[in-house]
């Protein structure tokens, strides 16, 4: 069942259309990746979903109710975290979480703040002013703030940016657990494609304000036919390069290793041709296309699925 439904959402800034009639749903317990190059319209979309930017047109419905007409009731159950906004930097971590907890009228406020502080490992930072925190600590505080009201829907704009890999991994695990335990639905933006593949059930690609793809990460990656074939060439590197150039294969060289973009079904034929030319290699690896390849291709060519 869709708990967030967006229909024909549009935002124009004078002559520039930042978001152009996009429509999509978010299901209960779903983690949806919102991807696209810088300036594609992701953050504009998230701002409209939070009610801090007025759409030029279209509908936003949470839990079957219009955001415009039921803002208060809806936002009680929604929260967000973004690397692009700050909590007041002259307040301590404790003060920030306290005033936010009053804003959402948390029933057992002290207990909830203590629990959130534990989860995001903020205990030793409680009495520090926000301006004294490192980028990673700030990200953890923003995430802690976003969970304070037991949200049913979370909008996370690059939630793991600036985090150490182990903390980022812990946060991803935490998000997946929250989804499993409480059916929290999440809209997630990130520039880390591996992370998106790991966390998201579905991915929407936005470019120039339009949705150009909406599918699972696996299906999107599979739609790219080109694999990366890596060979460490023992004898015949020059012949390999010539062959690639003559047959329009893209390649990258790294010492004696060459990475060639080849369609998966053409790999046997490609290898046999090299053998016929007397090329010998002692290492071979084939990397299947990933979401990152899809992202690169789609942003490069503006391809529409």
């Amino acid at each position: 069942m869709a708990i967030l439904s967006i229909s024909n959402l549009t935002k124009k800034f004078k002559d520039f259309t930042a978001v152009d009639h996009i429509s999509f749903d978010l299901k209960e317990g779903e983690i949806l990746g919102l991807l696209g190059p810088n300036g594609a319209g992701k953050t504009t979309t998230i701002q409209m979903l939070l009610g801090v930017l007025t759409p030029t047109g279209g509908e936003i419905n949470y839990f079957g109710k219009s955001l415009g007409q039921h803002r208060e009731e809806i936002l009680e159950q929604v929260n967000f975290s973004s690397t692009y906004t700050n909590l007041p930097w002259d307040l301590t971590v404790r003060e920030n979480l306290t005033f936010i907890s009053y804003l959402y009228n948390i029933s057992d406020r002290k207990k909830r703040v203590a629990r959130i502080v534990d989860i995001f490992n903020l205990n030793s930072l409680l009495n520090l002013e926000t301006q004294e925190l490192s980028a990673g600590q700030l990200t953890r505080l923003n995430l802690a703030k976003s969970f304070i009201n037991f949200p049913r829907i979370l909008l996370l704009d690059e939630p793991t940016a600036s985090l150490d890999p182990d903390v980022a991994s812990y946060i991803r695990e935490f998000l997946l657990n929250q989804r499993k335990e409480f059916q929290v639905s999440i809209i997630f933006t990130s520039h880390n494609m591996a992370e998106v593949e790991e966390v998201c059930d579905r991915v929407i690609f936005i470019n120039h304000g339009k949705i150009i793809a909406d599918d699972t990460p696996e299906s999107l990656a599979e739609s790219i036919e080109t694999s990366h074939l890596e060979l460490v060439v023992k004898d015949g590197l020059k012949r390999t390069i010539e062959y690639c150039q003559n047959n329009n294969y893209q390649y990258k060289l790294d010492n004696r290793a060459i990475v060639i973009d080849v369609k998966e079904k053409e790999i046997p034929e490609f290898l046999r041709s090299l053998m016929d030319k007397g090329v010998f290699y002692d290492q071979i690896s084939i990397e299947k296309p990933s979401l990152e390849d899809y992202f690169l291709e789609i942003t490069k060519k503006g391809r529409i699925k």
Binding site: V52, L53, P88, F99, Y102, L103
Partner: protein
């Protein structure tokens, strides 16, 4: 309107006050300096003004009443700037907080800080010059209410301008209220103003309060008609300034709260 949300935003402003040396200075240091400077100056002049023992009281109570006006507007404009500097508007408006709850919290914190400042400054005035601010008795209540109302509409108007044009016009947060100073006759009677300025003053609600306070001091009575005119003007300007602020806020929502700083 929900009390817990008004409390939340007021609490955030209160924390800001506690942490900010600037705010502490504004609340306690400058009022003390004004009282010292103007109080001593008027004490000196008293020697040369025959039959006017009230001159020190007039100047000192003028300063105290002006603190109320200044506090009312200052809490609105500077707290708004604090949220802009901190880029905190998104955090609070992506929550269920309503625009009118936000406005109310400005008023609440303005009243609390005005009480704090005036309690402190009236204590200083008594200690330094034996001027008892509470000599106005019950008249003090309408004086304080009307002056803080004036502070609010000035503050809301400036807040609307800051929301529209961003922090590049932030100096208005401190400076705008001063534009009224020559016309509201804080330290002198309105009669010293030229005729055109008296006409301007008649449209400014604060002028009736300061004039009324002087009447109490010199005549021992108060023309309550002045208070009603002041109340009427204050209500009118408060409504206009709130409409302007709301429209500015809606304008900002069209650009996105993230873009305002």
């Amino acid at each position: 309107m929900k009390i817990h949300r008004i409390y939340a935003v007021s609490l955030r402003f209160w924390y800001y006050f506690r942490h900010s040396f600037d705010r502490m200075t504004d609340a306690f240091y400058w009022p003390t300096m004004d009282l010292l400077l103007w109080g001593l100056t008027s004490t000196y002049f008293r020697q040369y003004i025959p039959n006017n023992a009230n001159v020190v009281t007039m100047i000192v109570t003028g300063i105290l009443l002006y603190i109320i006006l200044w506090r009312g507007q200052y809490e609105i404009t500077v707290n708004l700037l604090g949220d802009l500097w901190n880029r905190n508007l998104i955090n609070i408006f992506a929550s269920p907080l309503k625009f009118w709850e936000w406005i109310t919290s400005f008023m609440v914190i303005g009243i609390i800080k005005a009480i704090l400042s005036i309690a402190f400054a009236s204590g200083v005035a008594y200690l330094l010059y034996k001027v008892n601010f509470f000599m106005y008795g019950f008249n003090l209540i309408p004086f304080l209410i009307l002056l803080i109302m004036s502070g609010w509409w000035i503050g809301f108007f400036v807040a609307g301008v800051i929301l529209r044009f961003g922090t590049k016009v932030q100096t208005l947060a401190w400076a705008f209220v001063a534009i009224f100073s020559p016309f509201i006759a804080v330290y002198y009677p309105l009669s010293v103003l030229p005729a055109w300025a008296q006409k301007v003053a008649s449209f400014i609600p604060m002028s009736y309060i300061f004039e009324g306070a002087r009447e109490v001091l010199y005549k021992g009575s108060l023309d309550y008609r002045k208070l009603w005119i002041s109340l009427f003007l204050n209500i009118m300007y408060l409504i206009i300034s709130l409409i302007f602020l709301r429209k500015s806020f809606d304008k900002v929502l069209e650009k996105g709260l993230v873009k305002v700083y």
